[in-house]
Symmetry: C2
């Protein structure tokens, strides 16, 4: 039997909406999600969990209340549980997120950027 | 304050031993590990957890008792909990692994390939 790899570029071709994470895999009770971002997101935190950002293409910044981290393709950062952050990308940036099943993109903030959860691509 | 990105290529330059995963980050009770592989690994399973393989450079195959999956850079696969598998790479391949803290590389098999756990780079 031939098993199929999950290929990031193939999955990224299947959607174009920004700030709307798409699940591509599950590991135990965690999900791996692709998301395209551009512009400013909302300040928010995830009170229950850390959150992994891995940049696949482009450049982004994660702002914190006391600083920021710049990420480019091949770079990653773990936003600690409960820490307020605001993602930003001048141009479209493609990201792999890793977080527990059920985590909502806007965390404790809500608002218009809140995306439907558990959407697979 | 400027936070530092974790950059895969910078971390990969810091070690050369194969089949010896190096931790680069933690997310909750999970770790992200880089590993360089070449040749045949041992058949093993992880009875307690799924295991994520993300290929950063090169090509590899994960053999299963009933088939195999081929992975190249930008491709990933989740080996389900308890499923016997044997990684293989004809030439050196660089991988990002994601799994719970404490998971040993040879799982339930042990043997000479068993690497020291929780080594950071």
């Amino acid at each position: 039997m031939t098993y199929q790899a999950i290929v990031f570029t193939e999955k990224l071709e299947k959607f174009s909406d920004q700030w709307a994470p798409k699940v591509i895999a599950e590991m135990n009770d965690y999900q791996l999600k692709l998301v395209k971002i551009q512009g400013d997101f909302v300040w928010h935190a995830h009170p229950q969990t850390d959150e992994v950002f891995i940049v696949l293409s482009g450049d982004m910044q994660i702002e914190f209340r006391d600083g920021a981290v710049d990420l480019s393709a091949g770079g990653m950062f773990v936003v600690p549980k409960g820490v307020e952050h605001k993602p930003f990308a001048a141009n479209e940036c493609e990201i792999l997120l890793i977080e527990p099943v059920g985590v909502v993109n806007t965390g404790d903030a809500g608002g218009e950027f809140t995306a439907e959860n558990d959407v697979w691509v």
